[in-house]
Symmetry: C3
Subunit: 334 residues, 3 copies
């Protein structure tokens, strides 16, 4: 629980109304109950927000003058320049207040050489192998398995049944959803020119996820073959995403569900990638490019254009793609 004043201070916003009202959770306007904080980023939703049982409202500057005076007696109003962002930060702040007492469940199996900060929580049936290191306040979900030499920073959250192959490294505040597999072998084989069969190429490199990375449920990220796979600060991966070996992903990249990135490709900072996109091996997506859902990037291709949307297989600027579609439709009709 937090007071509305604590929330307003944390999100650097102005509070109008009683600063001592207590907030326990966040909700939508339609499902709000007493104790909830809600947000409004469209002036048309303000009346419904005030009419709801919520205990406080975050809204944009538009809510400032008249609304406030009228509503101050009703419920506290927090005015933020980016109300949706302030609401998201408030939600994280409220969730921190609810965190449980750290403990290692007796059914978890820890190697004696593992080094866990005393504030770490390890849930039921987790397995933690030799030389694992885990930082302050991190939580290891039930049934998760951390191979030898795994390193996890502070404030990380592994949901149940995550597997980290040996040598995987997570920095701070990394979130891994249930069922994700990190550090698995890349898909690398050498074909025998004689018999045509395949021999496994060594997959013994490492995987590093930097601060604030989040990985969705059942996603898979392979370690480097001989060197490393790396995902940089602030990047978010949705569910069922695949990242191959030796891939390098920059900062603040978002990748929607079921997208796959093949071996040795590079994705630079602030790229936005839709769902089911396929990026073949050794491609490069330069900073700030946007790949529409289901688009396909061929092997070794370089995609360049900050803020430009690419679509189709092979991917081209969306203007070109839509023009191609229109041309085809026109010719088809004649």
């Amino acid at each position: 629980m937090r007071t509305v004043n604590e929330v307003a201070e944390r999100v650097h916003a102005r509070l109008h109304g009683d600063p001592n009202i207590e907030i326990t959770s966040v909700s939508s306007i339609s499902s709000a109950r007493p104790g909830d904080l809600i947000f409004v980023d469209d002036p048309r939703h303000l009346p419904a927000a005030f009419a709801s049982p919520a205990s406080a409202i975050i809204a944009g500057e538009f809510a400032k003058p008249t609304t406030n005076e009228a509503s101050a007696p009703l419920k506290p109003l927090i005015i933020a320049r980016q109300p949706r962002l302030a609401f998201a930060r408030a939600a994280i702040f409220l969730a921190q207040a609810q965190q449980a007492v750290p403990s290692v469940h007796p059914t978890a199996h820890l190697d004696p050489s593992a080094h866990l900060d005393p504030t770490v929580t390890v849930e039921e049936h987790a397995v933690i192998r030799g030389n694992v290191r885990i930082g302050a306040r991190s939580i290891i979900g039930a049934g998760s398995i951390l191979g030898p030499d795994v390193t996890i920073g502070s404030d990380c959250r592994l949901y149940p049944r995550v597997v980290l192959y040996p040598n995987t490294t997570l920095h701070d505040r990394v979130i891994i959803h249930a069922g994700a597999v990190l550090g698995s072998d890349g898909f690398g084989y050498v074909r025998d020119a004689g018999c045509g069969g395949y021999e496994k190429f060594p997959q013994i490199g490492r995987l590093v996820l930097e601060d604030d990375v989040e990985v969705g449920a059942n996603s898979t990220i392979d370690r480097g073959a001989l060197d490393e796979t790396r995902i940089r600060r602030g990047t978010k991966l949705d569910n069922l995403v695949h990242v191959g070996h030796n891939v390098s992903i920059g900062e603040d990249v978002v990748i929607a569900a079921q997208t796959g990135v093949s071996g040795s490709s590079v994705i630079e900072n602030q790229v936005i990638i839709g769902g089911q996109v396929g990026i073949a091996d050794h491609a490069r997506i330069e900073a700030g490019a946007i790949l529409g859902a289901q688009s396909g990037i061929p092997s070794k291709k370089v995609i360049r254009g900050k803020g430009i949307v690419f679509w189709g297989t092979p991917a081209r600027p969306i203007k070109q793609y839509l023009k191609d579609l229109a041309t085809l439709a026109r010719l088809s009709r004649t």
Copy 2:
């Protein structure tokens, strides 16, 4: 074990032959052994069916007159209007006869506040958290993890290693295959207009799966962000399917493997969706439409047409898509 007469009565079909013959399982014609029930929906396969070691046959009306007289001494014949459907129902009926004695394995970990019907089975190393409720005859597979406040109805089957995030609700006769993750966080972030980084938007809503829903192995279904994700009665999802937050899926929908449905989209009743289809956010697929494999539905798009097949990205009626392809091939050749 069931008698052939019990089977015929259960599937509402006519029996010709000895009603006391015992049936233990179902099989294909080619792999049939004594005790097996097989089915024939094509008259050409009748001779092979009668020649097989199977103990009984389900067939269509076509098998009625002459065949029956000749074959009655050979083996019982069950005549059904929809023989394939009758066979499917017979298989379920036979499987029910084999169910094990309910028990909670000593290695499972149950919170004292969980409420399980005495007929529930909990397998090895399952974890059941606070306030979970599980109805009659449901089975919780080995290594499955049920978060706080999960509710499961009667006759549900969770295969091993299923994860249910807090607050997930399953109604009756729901089947969840191994490795599926239900109720995980949606892919929702707020971008900070200042630094360009992403802040996690709260993902604290719920997920409801209604009666007779089946979810394939390693599929992922996100809970609502603030409200709910819901999958209605009788809908079937294949393996590795992704369903985003706030999605609403109707009754008797089928979704083949590796299809993804983005946040806030609506799929109405009786829609049929092929494999690897991508549905972007806020789209609506109206009742009875059919989406061909790999087709792509753009954001906010409405697809309308009961019984009409759509294909391509962006999806259009298949006639148009095939015409477009033919036009292109013709122009390419000249």
Copy 3:
């Protein structure tokens, strides 16, 4: 640890230099440390290889005459006709030298009727059901669950959290990565012509993976409905691949990540399949064909052409596909 001479003999290559140098692992040139073996398949990388701290080098015939004389005092050189292949085999040989002492962890749960070779390793919290058989030196990863009547050959490696449904059979040297689900129910239903609802068709067949098959993390392979699904010798599947019921995959096939193969399709020997390819039901990909990433094979389609690359949806020879794209671009511009 192995001597450089042992390595050279094992990979059938010629050694120049001190045969008693000891090798512990493999690495890339850039990350090499003393004790490492590296490889060079491009003459331009030879100087860097010799300058690295690695203890030995595998190189192609090109490194033979002058290089050797100059470098013999520096470090041992192993000359192989296929240096990359020799390096891969050397890595496997070195890994074998490091294998742990077999043991069954006390938290694993074994049915008394299971039969494990005394050299089998079973890790923490694994569950092994009735009549399971496991051959020599196989390793069952932590949290894996093997259903009744599963059979596993010798030298298999199941990484953590693998689920094998009842009756699944693995031959020898099969590798299954974490989170994979093998033998799950196929996606088969019978629609009731009356109400339009779906009844589950029995999915009680089996799944067989032959020698040297490797399956990637979180992939799913369904058993046969009434008969079998089979993947033949030497075939490799990447992460998040889906294989439906009754599918038959030949020898030495490679299938990249997120590809899906629908029910009853046949993939013949030595086919190469890119990522995110979709193969509809009852299709046939004939021996040696190559399917480009994201291509789509319609239902019942036969793809024929050893060494020919197919691309697009529906897939056509890549020459045709690229010509179609060029035609469209040209027409769009006019």
